[in-house]
Amino acid sequence: MAGVAVSTTINGDAVEYLCQPDETLLEVLRDRLGLTGAKEGCGTGDCGACSVIVDGRLVCSCLVLGAEAEGRKVETIEGMAHGDQLHPLQQKFLEHAALQCGICTPGFLIAAKDLLAKNPSPTEEEIRFGLAGNLCRCTGYDKIVRAVQDAAEVMKGA
């Protein structure tokens, strides 16, 4: 199979790669670019562990083709902190212990970032429905919801 040449922007940097036409963006990120922060929990769009933002839209990178990233802006967990300054969501996830095993955490952080970008003061219910595409098996979600609530407060003040 002939490779597809792709030029895209990932976390603000120009990136070029060759990928197979049937290769997913998740595979490209993890296996070609070494960005293993996005996780594969299912490969079928059901767990959200592979969440990334493409042109301001939250997507499951396991359902997007690598070739589709051409000319777009991709944001992954690796680009969430600014230098050594954690994003308020990252900080609040740590403070609230919103992670146990942490495998779901990158996906939740990306999804929560997208949620707060669209709705800076969500209610508990809006958070719960906004994050319903992400599975966590460890926490029971309680501390995740609280961390997002707390981060929303901080971000409004900023």
Partner: protein, 754 residues
């Protein structure tokens, strides 16, 4: 072992605080490396071919076409994993489960594997492997399998534990029995008796991270294995034994683990990856798909349980009896046995009898799932206890308080209890504001109790003090949910230094002595014991060094708040030496300072929990929402309370999923029909309310800080608590888990017609 594990009732400086975990930043930035996040130069992609049949003889496997495909570097079958188990039946079962030998025993059973240069070629190669099967009749239901007409899964199985060896083989591998007193006499004294049968369906641990490993076997016979596991030392033993290697030649590194809950305590793909690497002469990365995780790893038992409980008018239970049948998958297990031990553990009973039957079925080999076997038994027993309370006209909590086990009670599984927390959790629930929260139409409240043993086990810890006085702690139990934070707190506590100066890591199998599996809620219990012991050993050396520096007898040197202090009038002019000062001088006082500990942490404290749950049932659709949930559990001592709360909440959430949704659905063809997160639906954020927690601390007398295990008990009460809540909401006793909408509607219809 000159280490005194007894509880000392000390005041804590670090333990009980809530600092940020040491591995946290890596996990929120995506840097933490899990099973699938590791790669080696020249690595191949491994894939496994799995049986589509629930039960079939493997007549032949032709791998020649696959081998010829360009890019394929190795193809293996059972022949490449010869039987080296030497009569060890349990190991043989593990081997056969990794790669089917004569028969495929469940849909998803591995029959062959390939290693190729990329995933596409590997997948293509699987399609070129020709397996000739002779399909046999199968059985997946636990009750059907126990029936004497059922297709036999293994004709060498004759039920153990009967008075006489049975004449014919069956699918029941073992009968076990526990109890004391005379249940017949007890029931004769009862004024009220409740007798019911219950069923629970099979569920999966549902960790979000699929099994993943990278295996690299070198030409000189040494090997490395990177893997997500709950116990890398046990994986090393098992893999080395199955591949005929010396354990010390196989170095196993545990990756960060993306959830296990008991499901990552058994080898599955790892021996296969090693065998592929050995044959191909290159590293092999093997990652299961989600479909494979469901079809071929986990799950827990499906059960069928009969319970009978009798009580006198004053509310005293006079007798209790249960018969428990648990599915084991196609290999012998001891799952019903655990159910039989835990079933009535919460109660003070004069007459009690439980009998367990282990049943083989054509489903994946049952694996431990958080307090394995206890939730199902608790569901049956706590449902019957609730019903009995109703019949007696007693409040469900008061009835349980009246019959709760206490210190000195003979447990239904045999021994007499030391100090335990069932009574206090019940009292806490009785006075909890949740019990007074108003309920609306179609809502119901339920509560239930749960018990789990908790384990200890072999544990090894190294504590090294750097020249700058900072401390590295190397532990051998895998961190499944924050234990590096807890253990750093413990080291800081013992040494009397600040938490920020301690850095804990999980060491690989070549760097530390053997550690048992991180199971049975033992991580913090055992490794904290070993950490305390290691720290005390280091303190002994620190005191010696200070004594040397001062040139005084070591007996006169005490350790307080991170400092060596010369005790006694005569040393008035000696100012204390800090750990940092002693460490800085260590090169000249005898070399590096470290404390090691190798011990068996035994005496883990049993733990109890009581949960309260409010649900709302939609009578039109039968769908149920949990609207309020409270967990009360004894932790012994909560080392890092936030993570203890997290364990309580996580267990409750898993229990809620089990109670309401999750189940393995098999078709008539014996194939699993819902092997994905879309159809095997675990709770999502919008399904759940906040989960309130209350930590009780009834110290475990066999741990210096009073720690008990906390990880598992929280999944025991939810099935029953929710079933009781649903039953109270709809007025019909629910006896089949999960209480999915169709089951609730069917129960309502039956009631209307009944």
């Amino acid at each position: 072992m000159n280490f005194d594990p007894r509880f000392s009732g000390r005041q804590f400086a670090s333990v009980g605080t809530r600092p940020i975990r040491p591995d946290g930043v890596d996990k929120v930035t995506g840097r933490a490396r899990y099973g699938a996040d590791f790669n080696m130069a020249g690595q191949l992609v491994g894939r496994i071919l799995r049986s589509p049949h629930a039960h079939a003889v493997i007549k032949s496997i032709d791998t020649s076409k696959a081998e010829k495909l360009a890019g394929v570097k190795a193809v293996i079958t059972a022949k490449d994993l010869p039987d080296l188990t030497d009569g060890d039946a349990a190991m043989y079962d593990i081997l056969d489960n990794c790669m089917a030998r004569k028969k495929a025993l469940y849909d998803g059973h591995a029959v062959a594997a390939v290693a190729a240069i990329d995933a596409r070629i590997a997948r293509q190669a699987l399609k070129l492997i020709e397996v000739e099967y002779e399909v046999l009749p199968h059985v997946t239901d636990v009750d059907e399998a126990a029936h004497h007409h059922a297709p036999l899964i293994n004709d060498q199985v004759f039920t153990e534990g009967l008075e006489e060896k049975p004449a014919k083989p069956s699918n029941v591998t073992k009968r076990t029995q526990f109890g004391h007193g005379d249940v017949h006499a007890g029931f004769a004294k009862a004024d009220f008796i409740v007798e019911r049968s219950f069923k629970t369906e099979q569920t999966h641990q549902g960790y979000i991270e699929p099994h993943a490993c990278v295996a690299s076997v070198n030409p000189d016979g040494t090997a490395d294995l990177w893997v997500c596991t709950q116990g890398h030392f046990v994986y090393r033993q098992h893999c080395a034994q199955l591949l005929g290697m010396e354990a010390s030649k196989l170095r196993v590194t545990s990756s960060e683990i993306g959830g296990g809950f008991g499901g990552k305590t058994h080898v599955w793909a790892e021996p296969v990856a090693l065998a592929l690497s050995r044959k191909a002469g290159r590293p092999v990365k093997l990652v299961m798909t989600r479909d494979e995780v469901f079809r071929a790893s986990g799950p827990t038992s499906a059960t069928s349980i009969d319970v009978k409980i009798g009580a006198s008018k004053d509310g005293t239970i006079t007798a209790a009896e249960a018969t428990l049948r648990y599915s084991c998958g196609p290999y012998a297990g001891s799952w019903a046995e655990i159910g039989a031990m835990t079933a009535f553990a919460c109660y003070k009973l004069e007459n009690v009898k439980t009998v367990g039957y282990e049943v083989l079925v054509n489903r994946p080999k049952t694996a431990a799932y958080r307090a394995p076997s206890a939730p199902m038994a608790a569901f049956a027993v706590e449902s019957a206890v609730d019903e009995l309370a109703h019949e007696l006209g007693m409040d469900a909590v008061d009835f349980r308080i009246k019959n709760a086990a206490q210190e000195g009670t003979r447990a239904s599984y045999g021994p007499v209890y030391g100090p335990i927390g069932i009574g206090p959790t019940l009292e806490a629930v009785k006075h909890h504001p949740h019990m007074k929260a108003p309920l609306k139409a179609n809502q119901g409240r339920g509560m239930a109790c749960g018990f789990w043993f908790n384990f200890g086990g072999q544990t090894c810890t190294d504590l090294n003090i750097g020249m700058d006085g900072s401390v590295s702690l190397a532990v051998g139990t895998v961190d499944v949910g924050g234990s590096r934070a807890s253990l750093s707190l413990v080291a800081a506590e013992e040494l009397g230094i600040d938490y920020s100066h301690v850095k804990a890591i999980v060491a690989d199998t070549s760097s530390l002595g053997y550690n048992d599996m991180t199971d049975g809620s033992r991580g913090t219990f055992s490794s904290s014991m070993a950490t305390i012991s290691a720290a005390r050993n280091a303190i002994k050396i620190l005191r010696e060094r200070a004594a040397q520096t001062w040139d005084i007898p070591v007996e006169d040197v005490h350790w307080e708040k991170g400092h060596a202090i010369a005790k006694g009038e005569k040393y008035g002019n000696l100012s204390p030496l800090s750990l940092k000062e002693i460490a800085a001088a260590s090169g000249k006082t005898g070399g590096p300072i470290a404390g090691h500990s190798e011990l068996v942490a035994d005496g883990a404290g049993v733990s109890f929990a009581t949960h309260i749950c409010d649900v709302e049932v939609d009578p039109e659709t039968g769908s149920t929402r949990v609207i309020r949930y409270t967990v009360v559990q004894d932790a012994g001592k909560a080392v890092h309370p936030t993570y203890v709360e997290g364990q309580y909440q996580g267990g409750a959430a898993q229990g809620i999923g089990w109670a309401l949704n999750e189940e393995y659905i098999y078709g008539k063809d014996g194939r699993l029909q819902n092997a994905g997160f879309l159809d095997y639906r675990i709770p999502v954020c919008s399904d759940l309310p906040m989960i309130d927690t209350q930590i009780l601390e009834i110290p475990n007398p066999n741990h210096p800080y009073g720690v008990r295990g906390v990880g598992e008990t929280s999944i025991v009460p939810p099935l029953a608590a929710i079933a009781n809540a649903v039953s109270n909401a709809v007025g019909v006793r629910m006896t089949h888990i999960p209480m999915s909408p169709p089951r609730i509607l069917a129960a309502l219809d039956a009631e209307r017609e009944g």
